[in-house]
Assembly symmetry: C2
Homo-oligomer: 288 residues x 2
Amino acid sequence: MKLGGIEAGGTKFVLAIGDEYGGIFEKTVIPTEHPEITVPKVIAFFEGKGIERLGLGGFGPIDINQNSKSYGQIQNTPKTDWVGYPLGAALKDSLGVEVVIDTDVNVAAMSEAKWGNAKDVDSCLYITVGTGIGAGAYFHGQTLKGLSHPEMGHIKVARHPDDTYKGTCPYHYDCLEGIAAGPSLEKRWGKKGHELAENDKVWEMEAFYLAQALTNYIYILSPERIIMGGGVMKQQQLFPLVRHKVLEMLNEYVSSPHLTEAEIDQYIVPPGLTDEAGIKGALYLAAT
Amino acid sequence: MKLGGIEAGGTKFVLAIGDEYGGIFEKTVIPTEHPEITVPKVIAFFEGKGIERLGLGGFGPIDINQNSKSYGQIQNTPKTDWVGYPLGAALKDSLGVEVVIDTDVNVAAMSEAKWGNAKDVDSCLYITVGTGIGAGAYFHGQTLKGLSHPEMGHIKVARHPDDTYKGTCPYHYDCLEGIAAGPSLEKRWGKKGHELAENDKVWEMEAFYLAQALTNYIYILSPERIIMGGGVMKQQQLFPLVRHKVLEMLNEYVSSPHLTEAEIDQYIVPPGLTDEAGIKGALYLAAT
């Protein structure tokens, strides 16, 4: 089936024509600006391409309840230009095709489960650590949603004893996203993440926060694999630090061979689809 | 179908003969002692009753992976007599029927979704606050499990500024269970929970911890309803305190009419099946 996919992120939109098997025939990337600038560009990309359906993995909060009147509408977000914008309806009306909507991280979890680093298991969690922090989960054939979609980046974490930075989140200050996403690194340390690569203290603190979150996700969801993506996770030195701290925090409470020094490097892993987890997931979503 | 059900808790085992529609024909309660004392009593209750299958909702950690060699075996628990005990296999071998196993809180969530206070929605979370703290979830027809089962009572929470009590959890000290389950109330304040009913400070602190946990569960799982049971929740004054603090902590970040002062008393609720959620869930589980 010829499908359209959109990975609508906070800084960029990835647009693609492809199929439900992970094939991508055409792809482009545009910046996330005001919806009146960005959305016409999205429509122009897909118009006349003959797509049968469109899948959208969007930044949240976004209404993903198919029975809701505001399905596909952006909700309260620090990106104020987008609050209340009916993204799903705008695309459906202009392109005349069914638009299926889930969160960007839910569709990334789904495509990692289909084709990436979780294809051998029945459940996984995908977390992105970048401009923001979000996570999605795929369990036994379904993405996780209920009252709304999860907002796993906004959980409260205990503060590192040496951290005096108040946090960036306009809703909670020092929730996980407020204290561990890319912008908080830059504001706390005065430099961008990639300029801090050699400063061990930075990554020890970052791992302390991320490991707390992962430990909570393990206690609450018990996924069979955790995939960590996003710009901050390009700092590969974070992986062993996070894995080590997760084991330390769990303190052997959860019995699983994967939660041991011997196997945790196969449990907490980078994305198998590198930067294409989101867009391939959006294409797969279109066919559901 | 004539079914057997067991709600295996940390202080008592509830045993019942019933059916998959919530019917209970016969029921008894025995204390949780050493497995060599308790298990023969369980077998004696079911023997000769003609049950076709047996469902067991057990205290955790317990292996609930049907493909595992140790399916139904109790894992690391502070109840050391039970560590490594093959509860599922012992029952199957003695009674000659299939034994289906999940956690006590997962089956409680399932039966509240079938017949109790979540029967009008597709997902719910059930948390028990008593001798320990555990929570289970039921989403779109399945209980939540993956690598293992969730251990939601062991999440880390931020300490109340006035709390100097170190916590009771042998694995994590001041995780949620270590700092907010019944035994921690008694040790911190020097009296049992029901003797502290008039002390507002006790319940303000307890609500602070429970609301943190619920806020995390909402961010991570987004259940359509939260049901709070267990001995500590018999203190009805906790409900409005917890609801209020959850709204305060969410700070309007999650858009839902249920997460407002007007509707939260229909979102965070006591069990509809009072004390029978676990045993009815175990019976239903037997038929799955």
